[in-house]
């Protein structure tokens, strides 16, 4: 008798908790959003490398004296 009561209560709990789980489930497609969030670093790095290379090239040109100040203006060397 106790087991029957217990089984019934367990089944009721399962059903009630199932309702709560359903009500609070994240919107459809959350797995895709997790996958996107799990892989942005490489993409960011891919974008970062060309920018870093361009900045380094500009810095190298400035440091090499290819550009110099003449009469208050930056001019290319002859």
């Amino acid at each position: 008798m106790h087991n029957a009561t217990d089984n019934n209560s367990n089944a009721m709990l399962r059903a009630a908790i199932g309702r709560l789980v359903e009500q609070s489930a994240p919107a459809t497609g959350w797995e895709r959003r997790v996958m996107r969030a799990a892989a942005p670093r490489r993409r960011r790095l891919r974008l970062l490398w060309p920018s870093a290379a361009a900045a380094a090239a500009v810095l190298a040109l400035i440091c090499s004296g290819w550009w110099r100040v003449e009469g208050g203006k930056y001019q290319a060397k002859n």
Binding site: H2, T5, D6, N8, S9, N10, M12, L13, R14, A15, A16, I17, G18, R19, L20, V21, Q23, S24, A25, P26, A27, W30, E31, R33, V34, M35, A37, A38, A39
Partner: protein, 181 residues
């Protein structure tokens, strides 16, 4: 605790950062993790935030997973449970309604929760989030007490006593609701 070749392969893939293994992990365990977090936080947007945080953390820290201590599903639930607890703490929300007690004598007769799912759902919502998650892991996911103890960082005997008292509290809430009607 890694039981079969399939799980071992999945774990190996996760350790190598395989996209396929990550997608498979989400497919296999996403529902369990969302259930534990869902009954605690309730708002689907908050749930998604914490579930996402759980999986991103797990993918990043997979190297620290010890397969001899817990299954991958239990380990993921443990991360999810603690992230949800942190989330609630940051918002100063109550976590547990009943303090834990060590071993205590449990009466033979379990409290009867009646047969009104609607009333029981309302009663569950009166419990604190961490208490709802305990009931979810035991009665919804059918996890053994030792796994729930691993996840929540408590001991199985104290957990059994707490579950009994939570069921008692639910029964009392349902009776009180009935008497008001």
């Amino acid at each position: 605790m890694v039981k079969d070749d399939d799980s071992a392969k999945l774990l190996e893939g996760l350790r190598q950062g395989s996209r396929k293994a990550r997608a498979e992990t989400l497919r296999r365990y996403g529902g369990y993790v969302a259930a534990v977090v869902g009954v605690m936080l309730r708002d689907p947007r908050d749930v998604e935030e914490v579930v996402q945080d759980t999986f991103l953390g797990a993918f990043r820290d997979i190297g620290s997973y010890d397969g001899s201590a817990a299954s991958l599903a239990t380990w993921l639930r443990s991360i999810a449970y603690h992230r949800a607890v942190d989330f609630l703490r940051r918002r100063n929300l109550p976590l547990e309604s009943l303090p834990e007690h060590l071993a205590e004598e449990l009466p033979e007769e379990p409290p009867d929760l009646g047969d009104d799912v609607e009333a029981l759902t309302r009663a569950l919502l009166t419990l604190a989030p961490a208490d709802r998650s305990l009931l979810t892991m035991v009665y919804f996911d059918d996890l053994p007490l030792k796994d729930v103890a691993y996840i929540t960082g408590t001991n199985p005997t104290a957990l059994a006593a707490k579950l009994y008292r939570l069921r008692n509290k639910l029964a009392q809430t349902i009776n009180a609701q009935r008497n008001r009607q």
